[in-house]
Amino acid sequence: MDFELTPEQKLVRETARKFADQEIIPVARENDALERFPWDLIKKMAPLGFLGATVPEKYGGAGLDYISDAIIFEEVGRGCSSLRTIISVQVSLAEHTILKWGTEEQRQNYLPKLCGGEYLGCFGLTEPGAGSDPASMKTAAARKGDGWVLNGSKTWISTGSLANVAVIFAQADPSKGYKGITAFLVEKGTPGFSSRDITGKMGLRAANTAQLFFEDCFIPGKNLVGSPGEGLKIALDALDNGRFGVAAGCVGIMQGCVDACVKYSKERYQFGRPIASFQLVQDMIARMCVDMDAARLLVYRAGHLKNRGVRNTIETSMAKYFASEAAVRAATDAIQVHGGYGYSNEYPVERYLRDAKVATIYEGTSQIQKLIIGENILGVRAFV
């Protein structure tokens, strides 16, 4: 076992860290307050390769390993979780689905554009009536000629209104239950496809989240992803990637909390001493540090398995569950350490809390992660 990063991973960290410090952090508060989508940051990230880190070079990616991937998500997450969510969806959900399940034509058509930032991607699984239980989705796909016709709606879709290409899951054969679910690529502007922004979110305010509508929306046969009926398998496989990035992003939130608390607690004097000298304050910061390290190590373990091509659903679930809950604890305590000032957006810690919370919900709630882990250890499935 080797806990050292490789020279390349150290360089990736240096680049990602500098980018977060110099480009992301200075605008994160304002983008959050104004609910402003970080277009300019996405434009700047594309040439650096952040929009396709783990995609092979021949499709326009950087061909990096998953520890490097985690490092990028962590650093971007330390800066701004909205941006981290955008690249999670872009890389882990959209690009990796096309890479693994798409046809060669689809890969060549979409991956260079997505990695290069010319296209944005989204991933539409959740529906108004189907969240934790995606198998119960109602969006229907009916065969027509050499293609399919979609009818139904999706909700809570990150980057939904902006994406040039959407990975959409629909029920193509209700008689087969979850084995009827099928995946498609839907291009923005396809007749019958529309979207509506969801506003008033607690966090991720700089990211776009939308409802998607399909009304007799014709999808050519060449836009089928994988085989008919393979959709749920594809979705769950994609979530193994997505959760990894979410977990790493939460490690970044925790690092942001620790950094902010260390600085503030040494500068803030009460009772004639820096508050860093009070045991109860040290208790909060110490717990935060241990949680952060534990989460980072869980992420690296999952990344190590991904690098080796070993199945890692459980390890990734553990990392995502632990890191997201720990990030909420860390951000809550970080506000506490900052006292009244932590309650204002003068400091980043209140944003960390709002942004950490969603990580316990999306890409499978903490409860769902525990059920995945529980089933693995008990051999009894708590849900169908």
Binding site: P7, E8, K10, L11, V12, E14, T15, K18, F19, P47, L48, G49, F50, A53, E57, A62, G63, L64, S68
Partner: protein
């Protein structure tokens, strides 16, 4: 057309071939522990000397504008690969590592001699160094290289314009900017503000991983390690003494004016 160029021979190409000297230094955020007359090296985070990074960036900008080849070179005991890989990831063409245990005890002059020897074997138009390293801060190597190679030195530059064989460099001096003009070949040392170094892109990092580093050692340069004896000897190394001087302002004893003056002096 490939034009072979040598120093002193009229060039027919406007390409500028550049050599950038690199040093590995402890990260400035690192907690340094003194051990004898040196610092404890284990557990330190090492980075490319920030002033050398300005040199690399400048070289890449010159290459983009004028063409030419950028070679980075470092001399030392272990660990130099990291800074060379970083420069390769930023986009330089070649990396040379003079790796030799005999360099462990060499001082700035010894290192300069070794670098000069290696550099004199390659055709070049320009040598870029950092104005100093952030660890020892001697600011020695750039000047020594110019002396050993018999070419001009312009130190601590903040601006640079190259046209053909001549260049104009701006140096910050007390209260203003001094502009000097000279011809290539020359040694320039980079000051903060010369440029904003680029971040290595992920593709560059992956490319650098595959690029070969060219290794040299003292015997291959015809240098006997014993010749590198230090003429200078470090007698001691101590931590800076921290002096905390408080000033008590007493409402009764001073005038408002004195108080205001003091506040003004510190803000």
């Amino acid at each position: 057309m490939i034009v072979r160029r040598r120093r002193g021979i009229l060039r027919t190409s406007k390409n500028v071939d550049i050599i950038v000297c690199l040093k590995r230094v402890p990260d400035t955020g690192a907690r340094v522990e003194i051990e004898g007359t040196g610092v404890r090296e284990e557990g330190l985070d090492w980075v490319l000397n920030p002033y050398d990074e300005f040199g690399v960036e400048e070289a890449l900008k010159i290459k983009a504008a004028h063409g030419g080849k950028v070679t980075v070179i470092t001399a030392g005991a272990p660990g130099g690969e990291d800074v060379l890989r970083k420069a390769l990831a930023m986009g330089v063409d070649e990396a040379v590592y003079i790796k030799d245990a005999g360099l462990k005890g060499a001082d700035d002059h010894g290192v300069s001699r070794v670098l000069a020897k290696a550099i004199s074997r390659t055709p070049f138009d320009l040598i870029l160094c950092g104005k100093q390293s952030t660890d020892a801060q001697a600011g020695y190597v750039g000047g020594a290289l110019a002396g050993l190679l018999g070419i001009p030195l312009v130190s601590a530059i903040r601006e640079l314009k190259i046209s053909g064989k001549s260049f104009e460099a701006g140096r910050e001096v007390e209260g203003g900017v001094e502009t000097v003009e000279a011809t290539l070949p020359a040694v320039l040392t980079a000051e903060k503000g010369l440029n904003e170094p680029r971040y290595p892109a992920l593709a560059g990092i992956m490319r650098a991983k595959k690029q070969e580093i060219k290794y040299l050692d003292l015997p291959s340069l015809g240098i006997n390690p014993e010749e590198l004896e230090n003429p200078l000897k470090r007698v001691s190394l101590t931590y800076p003494s921290i002096e905390r001087k408080g000033k008590v302002l007493n409402a009764d004893s001073g005038s408002i004016k004195e108080f205001a003056g003091f506040i003004k002096s510190i803000i």
